[in-house]
Symmetry: none
Subunit: 135 residues, 2 copies
DNA sequence: TGAACTGTATTAGCCACATAATACGGTTAT
DNA sequence: ATAACCGTATTATGTGGCTAATACAGTTCA
């Protein structure tokens, strides 16, 4: 049974995305194995103190990513094939970031500059989300 | 006088950010010269069919970026210096990579992962160019 | 001075999004 | 069959960002 034991009580971003992130991390780390039973929406909602629909939103997203399967009325189970799942996700992101990489290189930016820029913007985006501000 | 002639009638994101982007691009491209008079909030609002305050929001941001100056009651002018041009270019690039940052964070990726991904894609893109396979 | 501009501040409406409340329908074990 | 679970759909509420409506205040020039 997949456990929400170590779920961070407080974190950044919407709850449903934190749930998605948590399960993704479990899959990536191997804590979640293939065929593992997922706790029900209601159980998770009680554990985290949120509405079942919030969990449903996260589970639905995870299902669309191929990380779990649900059948109406029955239990839900994790689907873990680390290579394919990770590769698929990385490929999607790689396509997007790849365009930017080319654009930045064409504009004459150095790799170190791009890395620094990404680092800075990442923290910036994090802080912006924390405070709900733009700048 | 800075012109909004070629302003794209439709585009992505909030109007005020599209205005900011438009002026940034003009500064970066050299279409806007130093001391160039900016059309008033009301004139631009009439041209684009939006509220003057929407233009004000854009102008305020541009001023904070050092791309223009405003004095209460008087006309506004563009500021085009080596520094402001660099700032405009940097902002345009930052916005591009910023979209990726948000996308990556929203998908639950960790910062270290994103950094590693950028690094890998950068080298990849570099090698592709060496082989003459660019775009 | 005063008219016609200019930039700026305050307030409210609207809409998208995250979350909750509630209800409905399917599966499973007894 | 039926109780106790399960997933799912619909609707409502609260919040934040974008835009608009309106009013206020400064500059310029005849």
């Amino acid at each position: 049974m997949v456990s929400f034991a170590g779920f961070p009580p407080e974190g950044e971003g919407p709850i449903y995305l934190r749930i998605v992130r948590f399960i993704r991390a479990g899959v990536a780390a191997g804590t979640v194995v293939d065929g593992d039973e997922m706790p029900s929406r209601r159980v998770v909602s009680a554990t985290l103190g949120v509405n079942p629909n919030t969990v449903q939103k996260a589970y639905k997203m995870l299902e669309e990513e191929g990380l779990m399967v649900s059948r109406s009325g029955a239990k839900s189970f994790a689907v873990v094939t680390p290579e394919s799942v990770d590769a698929a996700r990385a490929r999607l992101q790689a396509e997007e970031i790849g365009r930017v990489v080319s654009a930045l290189r064409r504009s004459g930016m150095e790799k170190s500059e791009a890395m620094a820029l990404l680092s800075r913007l990442w923290d910036q985006d994090e802080q912006a989300e924390e405070r709900g501000e733009s700048e």
